[in-house]
Homo-oligomer: 341 residues x 2
Amino acid sequence: MTATATLLPIDQATFPLFAGIDVGGTNIKIGLVDDAGHPVAFEKIHTHQQQGAEKAAQRSAEKLTEMVAGLGIEPDQVARAGLATPGPMDLAAGKVLQPGNLPGWHFSPVRDLFSQATGLPVTFANDANAAAFGEFWSGAGAEVRNMVLVTLGTGVGGGIIIDGRLLVGAHGAGGEIGHIVIDCRDDATLNSLNLRGTLEGYCGAYGVLARARKALEVQGVRSSLSDLTDDALTPLEIAKAAEAGDHLAMSIILETAKLLAIGMASIIHTVDPESVVIGGAMTFGGDGHPLGERFLEEIRLQTTERIFESLRGEIHMDFARLGGDAGFIGAAGLAREEHLG
Amino acid sequence: MTATATLLPIDQATFPLFAGIDVGGTNIKIGLVDDAGHPVAFEKIHTHQQQGAEKAAQRSAEKLTEMVAGLGIEPDQVARAGLATPGPMDLAAGKVLQPGNLPGWHFSPVRDLFSQATGLPVTFANDANAAAFGEFWSGAGAEVRNMVLVTLGTGVGGGIIIDGRLLVGAHGAGGEIGHIVIDCRDDATLNSLNLRGTLEGYCGAYGVLARARKALEVQGVRSSLSDLTDDALTPLEIAKAAEAGDHLAMSIILETAKLLAIGMASIIHTVDPESVVIGGAMTFGGDGHPLGERFLEEIRLQTTERIFESLRGEIHMDFARLGGDAGFIGAAGLAREEHLG
């Protein structure tokens, strides 16, 4: 999930450029992306979130100015900026609300702050939605018009593209895929927002670990994971154990795939995409790794069983391609959409 | 669910008009709808499905010609027709596939047949999607831009409107709400398509009856429904028993509301509508009836518990308003969308 994009030489870029700014709790990723979706410059600065949003906007603007100068282009060749932050947010008002990893930014009018600092009009988006748009614009969804991105990590998030447009929703809650419900039981697992039976509650990192712990409690079960303390049990340790042949670890990973597929079936029967793209930090090795490929294959298999016969084989399911670059590229892409009107 | 629309006098209509044709297994509903969504004429003819689609197209066209003459208008004041049929269908090819209630129509090129018979360009749509568009255009969703219709009957169906446009999906399977999964258990109920744990499997008529039968089997349970034979147990009998104070019958209805709410939470976190509209034949009396209102109130309550705090109170949940007219009105509305381009 590191930045992997190759930068396009500026003399091959299509103008205008768009700035993409992807704010996380630790870093802010800043890129310049050309009109065809190719990054031409990329930098990462510390968020220093406790200093607040205004300072971060100023430092981001300074970095952007340096990047423009470094490319030897004029500032007015950058048409607009896209700003992605974690939710919750008030999109219409251009404000973040109370994102858990940005306490110093709570209720900041980030759209205006970044616009004033950069001198650019700013398009504001949810970071998971921006990542979805990035994959759609120049990643795993570049060949389709209808795509769903599902990101697996501490949380489960994502975004939905319908007929080439991001599904923002009436209240900015479109594509909140982690909060679809897969377990109707009254005693189903609660997630971090106290919502019961959600996809995130089972397939987010804490959900995976909770299922692993429960499986380890079964009397007589043999697993190398039994030797780990509660703190040492992580998705990465589960992946390592599975790769070393531990049956319980593998069964937890395959169960994760099955539970995810149950959520996928609901999304597919709701928005009917051409392509479902799986990203995030918890893909068990991801693309090109045997365990990641086995995980993806199980998602495909289990999803296929749960959807209309006429859809089987019709929906691509693949790993994301842009890794941690998806957010800033997508933010730039959403800025471009608004620029084009 | 009968036709309830008041017809607008033709001298108050806004032109052009659009024809809406809603094909069911028993009847074909044919209406003329003005440019503002008001029906100005309506007729119902028998489908006689065993005679095939071509004959039905001819009889529909004859009826339309009569209706136009009866209104005293010129044929060219009708700009386009919308044709809604049950799925599954190949929308792009303009064909029905194998709808269960139209065996005589299997694989018929209905779009072309109706176009040739009526002399009008034809917009082809799934009947549940057409009904959703009808409610959006001139029913319970007329004040919003983002709406979900859920229809409860033998099956559970619906349609989704995003930013004023019908979500058709990449393969015509958008808004197949009955097939979202609410129960991840390996032994969850199978529905008629052999899909496990779906909303339809629990909240479609057969699902409701299966839950009632199971509840009646519990030893010592007292219910007036116990006296009914298996054949005599229907959603209507459950409603009657609940109205007469039968606790088990009421608990089945409230459980239906809860399971439906679980599906609603998934849809809301996926497409984030302004309004969710509940229609279909199985609304336990529906709008204005005490039991229907209790059912709706329980859906609201249970949905609210399962969605983001920021969305609570922000999403309208109401009964559909157009009853059985939604399909032909929506088909006409979709024809109008295509006419406007």
